[in-house]
Every structure is written in structure tokens, then in C-alpha cells.
């Protein structure tokens, strides 16, 4: 009789012990999972923050690209206008409604036209040098009168000049 009770007691104690140890390990596991989940949360927050920075940088980059394209288009338009004005210089319509004829002028007044051509050539050379990156002089920078400017490329060489 006593042996049966003693055996049942042992089994009961064994079950209790198993339950306690199992419960303890289960809670430990949960705590470990919680710690990992917390760590993951921090990492995800960091990743989100990094992604936000990337998106912000992309926004800045897009704006820079748009700005650069705008400047290129503006320059293209200016150069087109400049080219048109060069064409007008050669084919200007005078007061009598006739097109300017450089050849006829050169036959009539070779010396003055020679001077004009040489001056124009110097101006054109100066334009190329500035286009290549040579800095403009103070005199060129402050020129505001027609007589002071480089008539070939005023936009490039004479930034203070406003056509009138």
C-alpha cells in the first residue's frame, strides 16, 4: 500500500518539477525573444531613418539636376540670341530699306572697314579666351556703355551691361 502511495507521490513531484522547469525555460525563451524583438525594432528604426536621409538626398539631387538643366537651357537660349544678333550685324536693314552689304562698304571705305574688322577680330578672340575660362577684367566687368563693351559677346564678357 505504502509502496503504491510513495510511487504516486514521486510521479506527482516529477510532474510538478517538470512543469516548473518547463515554465522557467519558457519564460526565459520569451525574455530572449523580447530582447531580440527590441533590438530588431531599434535596427528597423535606424533603417527607416537612413531611408529618410536617402530620400532627402535624392530630393536634393533631383532639384540640382533640374537647376542644372534650366541653366543649360538658359545658356542655349542666350547663345541662340547672340548668334541671331551676329547674323543681324551682317544683314542689317538700313534706313533706305536695303540690306547692309559689307562687300560694298569695303569697296567704298576699305580703311575704316579694315579697322572695324580688326577690332571685331580682337573682340572675337577675347570672347573665346573668356569662354575657355580666362577671368574678365574689372573694366569689362563694370562696362555699361555700348562704347565700352565687347559687342561680340556682351553676355559673357560684360555682365553689368544692359542692352539699350
Amino acid at each position: 500500500m505504502l509502496g503504491i502511495f510513495s510511487g504516486a507521490k514521486m510521479i506527482f513531484i516529477g510532474v510538478i518539477l517538470t512543469a516548473v522547469v518547463g515554465g522557467f525555460l519558457y519564460v526565459k525563451g520569451l525574455q530572449k525573444d523580447l530582447a531580440v524583438a527590441k533590438e530588431n525594432m531599434i535596427k528597423m528604426e535606424q533603417a527607416i531613418s537612413d531611408q529618410k536621409k536617402v530620400i532627402e538626398q535624392q530630393k536634393i539631387d533631383f532639384e540640382a539636376i533640374i537647376r542644372a538643366n534650366k541653366e543649360l537651357v538658359e545658356q542655349q537660349n542666350k547663345l541662340t540670341e547672340e548668334y541671331k544678333s551676329l547674323d543681324k550685324k551682317f544683314n542689317k536693314i538700313n534706313a533706305s530699306g536695303k540690306k547692309r552689304d559689307l562687300g560694298a562698304l569695303a569697296i567704298k571705305k576699305p580703311r575704316p572697314i579694315e579697322k572695324i574688322i580688326n577690332k571685331g577680330s580682337d573682340h572675337a578672340t577675347r570672347c573665346v579666351r573668356v569662354a575657355m575660362g580666362e577671368p574678365i577684367t574689372e573694366e569689362e566687368k563694370n562696362a555699361t556703355k555700348k562704347s565700352q563693351i565687347n559687342p561680340i559677346c556682351p553676355d559673357l564678357v560684360n555682365p553689368s551691361y544692359v542692352p539699350y
Binding site: 530588431n40 543649360l72 559689307l102 569695303a106 572697314i113 577680330s121 570672347c127 575657355m132 559677346c153
Partner: protein, 108 residues
């Protein structure tokens, strides 16, 4: 006991590796040192006068000529070459600004 050993949550691994490229930093080419040139205008009336002046200056009395239309074409071609240089320069400046964060000088 079996339940505790098979957790479904795995540690997250985030790798951030950024290696910046070395900037190219190429220098601009030197600005061309153009030689002076002088134009002469010759018509049927002043030709002898121009050639005798060339002789006086000890310059070979020979002229490489252009008509008025040829001169106009040369001027326009020269302008187009300059415009191309200007555009290329602006594009280069913009690339530098974008990739190297180098601003072009303000007083330009």
C-alpha cells in the same frame, strides 16, 4: 521544453557599407595663347597700295583672301565654336558641382 527551443524571431542584420570614390580632380586645360592677326581689305582700287605697304613692312606681298560672304561665314563658324566651348564648360562645371560639390567662382 520543446516549445522554448524553436523561437520564430531571428536577429535582424542590417549592413551599411559606404565607400566614397576618390574625386577625379582633373585640372582645366591651359587657356590658348592666341597669336595676333591682322586683316587687310583689298579691292580693285587699293590693291597696289596695300601690296606696296606690305613690302614696306617687309611682309611677303601675298594675301590669303576671303570674300565678304566668306568672312561672314568665318565669323559665324567662329561664334559657333565659341558657343560650343561655353556649353561644354557649363556642363563640366555642373558635373563638378554635382559630383564633387565644387561651386564655380561667383564673379564669372
Amino acid at each position: 521544453m520543446f516549445l522554448t527551443s524553436c523561437s520564430s524571431i531571428k536577429p535582424l542584420e542590417v549592413l551599411n557599407l559606404e565607400i566614397k570614390r576618390e574625386p577625379l580632380k582633373l585640372e582645366d586645360p591651359k587657356i590658348a595663347d592666341f597669336e595676333d592677326l591682322e586683316w587687310y581689305i583689298i579691292n580693285s582700287e587699293n590693291a597696289e597700295d596695300v601690296f606696296s605697304k606690305l613690302k614696306e613692312k617687309k611682309i611677303d606681298p601675298v594675301i590669303f583672301g576671303l570674300t565678304d560672304e566668306g568672312y561672314e561665314a568665318l565669323s559665324k563658324n567662329f561664334a559657333q565654336i565659341r558657343h560650343y566651348i561655353q556649353q561644354q564648360k557649363l556642363i563640366l562645371d555642373k558635373y563638378r558641382e554635382y559630383y564633387e560639390d565644387v561651386k564655380k567662382p561667383v564673379d564669372k
